[in-house]
């Protein structure tokens, strides 16, 4: 319906309105970035204007205090390994449940789906007990295991829906050619799942990288903190020192913004795909 319309005054007005709205959306970023480069006095005198002098050393100070590289590596490790494990276990389980719809598997599927309505807060208190009993507390590995449990429902559901469109004939042909069931999955089915795998990786990454409450409950030692946890504890110490606090915020936000700008096509496509199926 769109291409037939010519660019006219009405569209121009819309464009201007949308651009103004976009500026409004960006104002908070302006405030945070500009003020993170000011001295404390400058910031208190004029929070809206341009810095009198650029204080880049706010960043080098915060980089040291927050031990930013360490927090970044912790976040990266946890996000990557949780993603890898989740893709693996949920693709395999979804495949089996779809291709062998025994009573057990069908009940299992319903159970996985039904669990999605349970809010995290309704599980977290006993989870802390279970996690400490099986040795998952205060360990990045333990946190990753927790993500396996919390992510598997949605991932399995998305894979299950997507697999229905894969024709059975391809798999049958592979079996005739002497492929084992494991080979069929790995060499034939899993590569065909790639579009859904990308969607799942994106949804999981946004969730795990930005998650706060679960890491807060599981990780206690300072040297294994993720970026949100580290920012939280940093903020607790530098509440009123906005010059440093804001530089810390910019550092905390930067990796995800960079990731989004690089991957935005995939991210936006992934969210549309995930929502249609969900």
């Amino acid at each position: 319906m769109e291409q037939t319309q010519r660019y006219n005054a009405r569209l121009l007005a819309m464009e201007i309105a949308a651009l103004l709205l976009a500026l409004l959306f960006l104002v908070p970023f302006y405030f945070v970035v500009v003020n993170s480069l000011k001295s404390f006095g400058d910031l208190m005198r004029n929070a809206a204007g341009w810095p009198e002098a650029f204080r880049w050393d706010n960043y080098s100070k915060v980089w040291e205090i927050m031990k930013f590289p360490r927090a970044f590596m912790n976040s990266l490790l946890i996000t990557v390994l949780s993603n890898a494990g989740l893709v693996l276990i949920s693709a395999m389980a979804a495949y089996r449940i779809l291709r062998r719809p025994t009573v057990f598997n069908r009940v299992l599927f319903v159970l996985f789906i039904a669990a999605m309505v349970i809010p995290f807060q309704s599980i977290m208190i006993p989870l802390v007990k279970v996690a400490s009993e099986v040795g998952l507390m205060d360990s990045r590995f333990g946190l990753i295991i927790c993500y396996f449990g919390f992510g598997v429902s949605l991932n399995l559901f998305l894979y299950h829906g997507f697999m229905k469109s894969i024709p059975l004939e391809i798999e049958e042909a592979a079996v005739v050619d002497g492929c084992t069931p494991y080979g069929v999955f790995w060499r034939i089915v899993f590569p065909l799942l790639k579009p859904m795998t990308i969607t799942i990786l994106i949804l999981n990454s946004l969730w795990i990288w930005n998650d706060f409450l679960l890491p807060l409950l599981v990780l206690h030692s300072a040297d294994i903190r993720t970026i949100p946890l580290q920012t939280y504890s940093f903020f607790g110490q530098y509440t009123k020192q906005w010059d440093l606090a804001l530089a810390g915020l910019v550092l905390g936000v930067a990796p995800m913004v960079a990731f989004f700008l690089l991957m935005q096509k995939h991210i936006i496509a992934g969210i549309s795909a995930g929502a249609v199926k969900g």
Binding site: V27, A115, V117, I118, I123, T231, G278
Partner: protein, 295 residues
């Protein structure tokens, strides 16, 4: 013999393919969830191993005596209503705008989506600065009263502060879903409606809204469950203040369990929370699903 081998290999496959997913799911989700039914009936403090049966006294206490929990529920309900309505209204409007042939629509889409990739905890900190220092500076500069309000200082402005930040965060995500639905609308229907002389308002109400109803189902579900469970943003923006007036249920449960060490009471609260969230979201999905039309 061959038959038995086949059955064995089938069992091994079941174990290899489904086993890991089932194991982690049971350990992390199912077992703790079932345990919470038991612990909600005890006075467990999380520290000692001695757990004393308390019957329904936790529930009685929550429903009859705990005014903080009631306030938290009331706040969360009002906040959820406002956040869901405004976020969807803004997201839908943005989608309508960005499905027009605008020259800058790719840039615009990026900008509107941007807040959503940032952790809720960091967003709260960012906006606490905006509300305290940024708005004050704009207020001084422009003289507009709106910016001079003590945003995080009073109960009602802090409430709207939470809503503003949530809308800013969620609208872009919803916009993406609405855009996807609008792009999938069958062209013939739109053209036919145009030929029949449908005006813009009529077009929106009788064609576009019914056609994107599945997107409404998804977006309402997402915003309802995000808003009900709000925690990170609440903690970093208002900490529940001033005077507990903006404390969400999630924050209340967290404090009860991990700060007051009343795990038994906390689990009872979390079960009530589960029943409410599950009921509301299920009813919403059933209701909006019924409104979806077949094309």
């Amino acid at each position: 013999m061959q038959h038995r081998m086949k059955r064995l290999s089938d069992a091994v496959q079941q174990l290899v393919f489904v086993g890991p997913a089932l194991l982690f799911f049971c350990l992390i989700v199912l077992v703790p969830f079932l345990m919470s039914f038991y612990y909600s009936l005890t006075d467990w403090n999380g520290v000692t191993t001695r757990v004393v049966w308390a019957g329904l006294s936790n529930f009685k206490r929550i429903l009859l005596e705990d005014s903080e929990f009631r306030n938290a529920f009331w706040f969360t309900a009002r906040y959820t209503l406002a956040a869901v309505v405004f976020a969807n209204a803004v997201g839908f409007t943005l989608a309508l705008l960005l499905t027009q042939p605008l020259k800058t629509r790719n840039v615009l889409r990026t900008v509107f989506f941007l807040p959503n990739v940032i952790a809720g905890l960091l967003l709260g900190f960012i906006w606490s600065f905006i509300f305290v220092k940024g708005f004050a500076a704009i207020g001084e500069w422009t003289g507009i009263g709106f910016f001079k309000l003590p945003w995080l200082g009073t109960a009602s402005t802090a409430f709207w502060g939470m809503v503003i930040v949530s809308v800013w965060q969620m609208a872009g995500y919803l916009m993406v879903i609405y855009i996807a639905a609008m792009m999938n609308m069958p062209r013939e229907l739109i053209e036919a409606a145009k030929i029949d002389g449908a005006g813009r308002w009529k077009m929106l109400r009788s064609i576009i809204v019914p056609l994107v109803m599945p997107a409404f189902t998804v977006c309402l579900f997402l915003t309802l469950s995000w808003s009900f469970k709000v925690f990170d943003l609440n903690l970093s923006l208002t900490k529940g203040g001033p005077f507990g007036s903006t404390e969400s249920v999630a924050l209340n449960i967290y404090k009860e369990a991990f700060q007051n060490n009343r795990y038994g009471l906390g689990t009872a609260k979390s079960l009530i929370f589960f029943v409410v969230v599950a009921t509301v979201t299920t009813l919403q999905v059933i209701y909006t699903k019924r409104k979806e039309v077949e094309v």
